[in-house]
């Protein structure tokens, strides 16, 4: 069953590679995405025990990330049917194949407990996304791909050093050398602290640069800005969470070593820095896709801060994985539509989107409201949990900085988004063949409904799942 999770997308990749028709591929893609989601749900309902040797083990944390990734992927796949219809000028073979390979690697990240294997899978997702960012085949997209590739590779290389340090610390401690999470946590007490500390730093920086924490985020605006909408959605809603999952694993290890304080403080500081960066770069943003990229920087910052705060905020962080992922889907997909229709992603060209594309414009506006943490949408739940726990823990300064940068970000985003969607369409604006269709509007709309539903009511199973996951990250007394 677990193997199917990995193999099915690979099979899909092979199939889509062989299909000669561009019109057919997205539909096949959606079929495989649907199957993947089905398997995921089966796995969530009855989870297989961990494999002998403990390499493969789907625990609560993995489940959350797997679920959000799979759901988001399904909607992106369906969206691609409508979207690629408007991109008939070029073959979508690489796109579909890349997406499926990435999905397979992503599933592997979520189900493995072997840090080395997880690292390999993570690097695979990075590489498999590179050609997708280059989908538009122009100078800007090639530059974006280049930066994305080099920075992420360096980051992941640093993570590898971190892993080596961990392994070496086991050797130094004369315990059975291994990179299995469970073994490491068992022997955590004995490991030599010097190496472990160094390992944590390298892992934080490595996975942080993949996740896009400031100031390691420099690739994000370029990659998100140049990639097609659905690729952006997968990057911002999927890959980010995978990197975060890797950080969660490190966090578990820190908890086991009882030397969590430094890691938590580092997370809080980097998270706040990311939010402040986002606040600075969000204001007067001339390109709405880059704006979304900075919003993604903001939200990984939020997750990092939540993780660093610990306590109740952990719940917020875990719920934010879902909330942020799905909301980013809404934003990127609808922004993709707007981009198609105006053939520009400059905010001074795009005006009156609600007039020209009532659905896409409205969805974009709603997504903006949701992502800035306004109820009744899911991100509000997580963000409020985090803020309140910051204040309840008496960490006023953190709470204050958090809240202030949220407000500044809201102002910046509002000043960018509202002029786009409101008002009249300028007479001189370019017109394209794009029209809102059920295929391009349906997926983001359903995602928005999902975000709304999660904002007012969390289903009991999901709630228990979140609680279990949070229990894994509780500071042991």
């Amino acid at each position: 069953m677990l193997a199917a999770l990995i193999i099915l997308p690979l099979v899909g990749a092979a199939v889509t590679w062989l299909i000669p028709f561009d019109r057919l591929r997205p539909k096949v893609l959606s079929l495989f995405a649907l199957a993947h989601l089905g398997i995921t749900i089966l796995l969530l309902t009855d989870t297989p025990p961990e494999s002998p040797g403990g390499w493969i083990h789907l625990d609560a944390l993995g489940k959350i990330v797997l679920l959000s990734t799979s759901v988001l992927f399904l909607f992106c796949a369906i969206y691609s049917i409508g979207y690629l219809f408007y991109r008939r000028e070029r073959s979508n073979r690489v796109l579909c194949v890349g997406l499926l390979v990435c999905l397979s690697a992503a599933s592997l990240v979520t189900i493995t407990h072997h840090l080395g294997l997880m690292w390999v899978a993570l690097e695979t997702t990075t590489i498999s996304m590179a050609p997708l960012i280059y989908f538009n085949r122009n100078a800007r997209s090639i530059e974006a791909t280049w930066k994305y590739l080099l920075i992420c590779s360096v980051g992941v290389a640093l993570a590898l050093i971190g892993l080596y340090f961990l392994a070496y610390s086991t050797i130094v401690a004369r315990v059975e050398p291994s990179l299995l999470l469970d073994d490491l946590m068992r022997d955590a007490g004995k490991l030599s602290s010097g190496w472990v500390h160094a390992a944590f730093v390298f892992l934080l920086v490595g996975f942080g640069s993949k996740m896009g924490l400031a100031p390691l985020h420099t690739w994000k605006p370029d990659a998100y800005g140049e990639a097609p909408g659905l690729v952006g959605a997968m990057l911002a809603g999927g890959l980010v969470n995978l990197a975060f999952l890797a950080l969660l694993r490190v966090y578990q290890l820190c908890l086991a070593t009882k030397e969590i304080a430094f890691f938590q403080n580092a997370l809080v500081v980097m998270g706040l820095v990311s939010m402040i960066f986002a606040a600075i770069f969000m204001a007067r943003q001339a390109d709405f896709k880059r704006m979304l990229a900075y919003s993604s920087v903001e939200h990984v910052g939020i997750m990092a801060v939540a993780l660093g705060l610990g306590g109740k905020a952990i719940f917020g962080a875990l719920f934010h994985i879902l909330a942020n992922g799905l909301t980013k889907g809404v934003l990127f997909l609808s922004s993709g539509n707007i981009h198609r229709s105006y053939n520009s992603k400059r905010t001074d060209h795009v005006r009156g989107a609600m007039r020209r594309l009532p659905w896409s414009g409205g969805l974009f506006l709603a997504g903006f409201i949701a992502i800035t943490g306004s109820p009744p949408f899911a991100p509000f739940i997580s963000e409020f949990t985090i803020i309140s726990s910051a204040f309840i823990q008496g960490r006023m300064l953190i709470g204050a900085i958090f809240l202030i940068s949220l407000t500044v970000i809201f102002i910046g985003m509002a000043l960018t988004v509202l002029p786009m969607v409101m008002g009249e369409v300028p007479s001189d604006s370019e017109t394209t063949s794009y029209r809102d269709t059920i295929w391009t509007v349906g997926p983001p709309f359903l995602l928005l409904l999902l975000v709304f539903a999660l904002g007012v009511w969390i289903p009991a199973p999901l709630m228990s799942l979140l609680k279990d996951a949070a229990a894994l990250l509780e500071v042991p007394q």
Partner: protein, 213 residues
């Protein structure tokens, strides 16, 4: 045997300096290739014979010694650029910095809590020094190709450290690391070819159109 490994590592350090000092890309590519070959030999010197060892050695030598350099050479040829002109930091300063870093890494390695059997080899300082060299190249060179070279040197540094735990680490992680290096650089190579087609140069200082104005 081990002592030979040490001398080889000294060679590796020298190669670092070469790649820092030279301005001719072809030359530094060759240097890195040689470095890769040496690294391929090293495991054979420090570990008892096993087929797994052979596999790794062969894999590394083919990847680091031949596949990747070929790729880079092709990129250089298609882009028709011979040398790294106006680096962000001059060659002499980078060499000096490299020297400083190497010295520091030796000093630093002395303080690390190493296994006694690793104490008296220069594996750790060499790996740190190579890492530092990689950083230096990445941060001081503008051309895309020299940054790939920097990335390779970085990976080599990591690999040297990996030697310390070759027997501790299951094969598939090493293989995975290797594979990633390969695929990563391979994709980079493709991208670079695309770049050279788009811009007819691999100078990343030309790749600065994506920024906040």
């Amino acid at each position: 045997m081990i002592s030979i490994a040490d001398q080889l590592l000294v060679l590796v350090l020298l190669i670092n300096f070469i790649s820092l000092g030279t301005s001719r890309l072809i030359f530094s590519i060759r240097a890195v290739a040689v470095q890769g070959v040496i690294l391929g030999i090293l495991p054979g010197l420090i570990h008892p014979f096993s087929w797994h060892l052979v596999g790794i050695t062969v894999g590394i030598i083919t990847a680091k010694g031949f596949a990747i350099p070929m790729l880079l050479n092709r990129a250089v040829r298609t882009a028709e650029i011979k040398r790294e002109v106006e680096p962000f930091l001059g060659y002499v300063p980078t060499l000096l910095l490299g020297a400083v870093f190497t010295a520091l890494s030796f000093g630093f390695a002395g303080k690390l809590p190493l296994l006694p059997e690793h104490q008296n080899y220069i594996f750790v300082p060499a790996s740190i020094a190579t890492l530092m060299t990689g950083f230096l190249i990445l941060t001081t060179r503008r051309k895309a190709i020299s940054q790939v070279i920097g990335y390779l040197v970085l990976e080599n540094g990591i690999f040297i450290f990996g030697l310390l735990l070759a027997e501790a680490m299951p094969i598939m992680v090493e293989a995975g690391a290797l594979l990633d290096l390969l695929v990563g650089t391979f994709v980079m190579g493709i991208v670079m070819n695309l770049i050279s087609r788009e811009f007819s140069s691999l100078d990343t200082s030309r790749l600065t159109s994506l920024k906040e104005e």
